[in-house]
């Protein structure tokens, strides 16, 4: 059965919904749009939709992805239009593309993401820009995380930062754009990065706004979009 790969944004009020809420919301939108989605067999049939790495509650994104298995091929533009009018405010599809039936799942291929982090910081009289740059030049910054079994684990976040694309400090605001490890194998939560920055600079970062710009496949020095790899 054909598989369609869908890129969508999640913003405004929709950024406050959890991954589980998102799954339910998309399922119902698909039903309203009368999209011929394939259902699993069994007592509680569910639509065959598989997502990329979950986005934490409170974060916005322009680059979320999902794969949907369809009962039949439908035109890409029609698919987009029909689903878009049935999605709640804050969710919207920006691109779709059919991928091969045997394409590996999004979670199997995505290993990086680009984020834009915007924070309010008291910049007066402080060379905050320099401090942030120093931070990203460090070899090791350890943070502590509690794993699923409740054990505390220390690990170095610096190897998970793949590339720093932009550091901008102006008018009490810091904007950082960064590509980090994302996915099952190695994952850096952007909120952990912000907490580490706060600790290093000794400054509170407030009104933090984290935006995921895109999900990526990184192979060595090169990046690919999961949407384009089969072109």
């Amino acid at each position: 059965m054909p598989i369609i790969r869908v890129q969508f944004f999640k913003k405004d009020t929709a950024k406050y919904i959890s991954h589980l809420d998102l799954i339910r919301t998309v399922q119902r939108s698909v039903r309203r749009a009368d999209i011929p989605v394939e259902y699993s067999k069994g007592f509680n049939p569910h639509s065959k939709i598989a997502y990329g790495p979950a986005l934490a509650v409170g974060l916005s994104s322009d680059g979320e992805l999902l794969d949907m298995e369809l009962k039949m091929h439908i035109d890409e533009t029609e698919f987009m239009e029909r689903l878009n009018v049935n999605l709640p405010v804050g969710l919207g599809i920006t691109a779709v593309k059919y991928v091969p039936d045997k394409a590996p799942s999004l979670t199997a291929i995505i290993n990086a993401a680009e984020y834009r982090i915007t924070c309010s910081v008291d910049t007066a009289g402080q060379n905050i820009g320099q401090r942030v740059e120093e931070f990203f030049a460090l070899d090791s910054v350890f943070i502590e995380r509690t794993d699923k079994r409740g054990r505390k684990k220390r690990f170095n976040i610096m190897p998970m930062i793949v590339e720093v694309k932009r550091i901008e400090v102006a008018d009490g605001q810091v904007i950082i754009e960064v590509i980090t490890d994302t996915g099952g194998k190695s994952n850096l939560k952007p909120t952990d990065l912000v907490a580490a920055l706060e600790r290093y600079t000794g400054m509170p970062f407030e009104e933090t706004d984290i935006h995921r710009k895109r999900l990526l496949i990184r192979r060595g020095e090169e990046y690919f979009s999961p949407l384009d790899i089969y072109d």
Binding site: R28, N86, G90, E207
Partner: protein, 616 residues
């Protein structure tokens, strides 16, 4: 205070979707274009509030009006409340995020007594004076409706007025009257005097209550002859023609009843003597299967929901149930839309019905025998026999069900030790029935859940004069059952008696309890219906501080000649009928079902033409 300040809080609370708004089908209007801002309030957390059918109907009914924007406001959970108080953010409506204090109406639906302190808390968070008498022309009118409005005396000091009966009938005249009043420069009092003349509106401040030396009520009378001595409830006459929304809000987050609720009828033809809903929602009025099928089609299309549940009291009493179920399954079954019937009675439960539902989805089965022996079931007029239950259970087990829930009440009038034992015996007989069912047919892994609630005597029921068991007695009865129900297939759960005790106090309370409510809130009580927040010691202190003995309300037997706090409210069923039923209960005599013949409850006298679909 801006929307941005609220955004700042959202990323810091446990479930921000509770406060974010923006759900599919939520209504947004231009506030410059609307004259009346109405905040529909439910004094509990989002997941509970959004499951309420009345909200779903009235939200769209009010928003049908061009001049009105109805939004929602619910009780913020304690984490959100702490942040709001810390940052000085007042209670806001979900859609516009405007403070509700700037609205024209703040309308609470009163579903259960344990939500009362949340009302006080919400008024405080909204920065609206707690007492009706302290509000002026700059404040919204705080109004209430729903089942607890029939005896809302404990809330009398906090509310400006109450709506008795079905909102579809009475909200329109209220809003029309409001518009006319707002165009002039009348006082708050003038508006209240005007709405008091609308059928179904009760303005407590326009009624005087006088007490006797013994604490009982001497009289309740209007302050002026213009106002009715008895306030009648209002009802919708034709359910096929009444407004029903073709869409409902589809929440992002999981709510308690996350499905389409199709209301198939109102009222009840049974006369269970403990049941307030069965009395106050009379008369019976049904919707036709044709209308229901059409409504379900539109709702599914406009929501994308995967489940439809039939909503009513005692669903199996619907005249056309089988044809309706077949119709709905034929129409939606192939789209993977499931059907659930949450309120089935055990006597009329048929195997064919189970089979119909099972085609789509298998859910657990719930039975409510209410009492453990036939004698006590006759006392409460639950016209169900053990044979009925056993036949239904057998049918269910043969159809592959393995999960059965049994609901009972403890503390019913005339209850003895045998009746408590009877609950356990019934549970074991259900277990035996399972093992007697053919192994090839029955599902694997039996689960029988026995659940007991504590009887709360309610106004407008035949048991309104009865005392409630004490907390200690309730606990002893639960302990007996706990010991008797130790079996690997049975799990037993019970209600906290302290909560039921307070319910009993407020259900039959009078105006003097308003101050207790405020005192309890001052001491920190809120979310009293939630185990993790309920604090009985604080409530005890509140009663003490106010010099009020709660036993006066919960544990006292009333005489027939006592003036009850709700006697000036007319819900249609007559006091004579309730008295007659209470007497029959004492003798263990059952009263037949309305469809077997009219039992003269009085409801047909309340409305012209004697509307009652049970009257065949």
């Amino acid at each position: 205070m801006t929307s941005k300040d609220i955004e700042g809080l959202l990323s810091r609370v446990e479930k921000p979707a509770r406060y974010a708004g923006g759900e599919y089908n939520s209504v947004y209007k231009d506030k410059e274009e609307t004259d009346i801002r109405f905040a529909f309030a439910f004094p509990d957390v989002y997941e509970i509030a959004m499951s309420h059918l009345g909200l779903r109907i009235l939200y769209y009914l009010l928003n049908e009006r061009k001049d009105t924007w109805c939004e929602r406001v619910f009780a913020p959970w304690t984490d959100m409340e702490a942040l709001m108080r810390d940052k000085g953010i007042p209670l806001f409506a979900l859609e516009s995020r405007d403070p509700v204090a700037s609205f024209d109406f703040l309308g609470f639906t009163l579903q259960y007594e344990m939500g009362y302190t949340n009302i006080v808390n919400m008024l405080s968070l909204a920065d609206i004076p707690l007492l009706s008498s302290q509000r002026d022309e700059s404040h919204p009118f705080v109004i209430g409706g729903g089942p607890c409005a029939y005896n809302a005396e404990p809330l009398a000091d906090l509310f400006d007025f109450f709506v008795l009966g079905e909102g579809e009938e009475v909200l329109t005249p209220i809003l029309d009257t409001y518009r006319r009043w707002k165009e002039g420069d009348g006082t708050r009092r003038e508006f209240l005097e005007r709405v008091a003349l609308i059928e179904g509106v009760y303005v407590p401040s326009l009624y005087n209550v006088q007490y006797r030396m013994d604490g009982t009520i001497n009289s309740v009378s209007p302050t002026d002859a213009r106002f009715p001595e008895k306030v009648n409830k209002v009802i919708v006459k034709d359910l096929d023609k009444v407004f029903f929304p073709d869409r409902i809000i589809v929440p992002f987050m999981d709510i308690v009843h996350d499905r389409i609720m199709l209301e198939i009828f109102r009222g009840c033809t049974r006369g269970c003597r403990f049941c307030q809903a069965g009395m106050v929602y009379r008369p019976v009025r049904e919707k036709s299967p044709e209308v229901l099928e059409e409504q379900s089609q539109r709702l599914i299309k406009n929501t994308g929901y995967e489940e439809v549940s039939l909503a009513s009291l005692s669903t199996s009493d619907y005249t056309h149930l089988e044809p309706l179920i077949k119709k709905l399954i034929a129409a939606h079954g192939d789209k993977g839309v499931g059907l659930s019937l949450p309120s089935l009675r055990i006597d009329s439960f048929s195997l064919s019905l189970i089979r119909e539902i099972q085609k789509v989805r298998k859910t657990g089965l719930t039975f409510a025998p209410e009492a453990g022996t036939q004698r006590l079931r006759d006392v409460v007029n639950k016209g169900v026999t053990e044979e009925d239950l056993m036949n239904s259970v057998e049918a269910a087990f043969s159809a592959g069900y393995n999960n059965v829930k049994l609901y009972f009440m403890v503390g019913l009038p005339t209850e003895t030790k045998e009746d408590i034992e009877g609950i356990a015996n019934l549970a074991y007989r259900v277990v035996d029935k399972y093992y007697a069912t053919n192994k090839g047919k029955r599902g694997r892994g039996l689960r029988v859940t026995v659940s007991t609630s504590c009887f709360v005597p309610k106004p407008f029921t035949p048991f309104q004069w009865q005392p409630q068991d004490s907390i200690e007695v309730f606990r002893a009865k639960q302990e007996t059952l706990r010991k008797r129900l130790r079996h690997r297939a049975i799990s037993y759960s019970w209600h906290q008696p302290e909560t039921s005790y307070l319910e009993a106090v407020f259900a039959r309370g009078d105006r003097r309890l308003s101050k207790v409510l405020i005192r309890a809130w001052e001491l920190g009580c809120r979310f009293d219906g939630w185990k993790e927040h309920f604090n009985f010691a604080k409530w005890q202190r509140a009663f003490e501080d106010c010099g009020i003995d709660p036993d006066f309300y919960a544990a006292r037997k009333r005489d027939y000649d006592e003036v009850l706090p709700w006697d000036h409210i007319n819900v249609g069923v007559s006091r004579e009928f309730l008295k007659r039923e209470n007497e029959r209960a004492k003798k263990g005599r059952i009263t037949p079902h309305c469809r077997e013949g009219c039992i003269n409850c009085g409801i047909t006298e309340l409305f012209d033409g004697g509307i009652c679909d049970a009257d065949y």
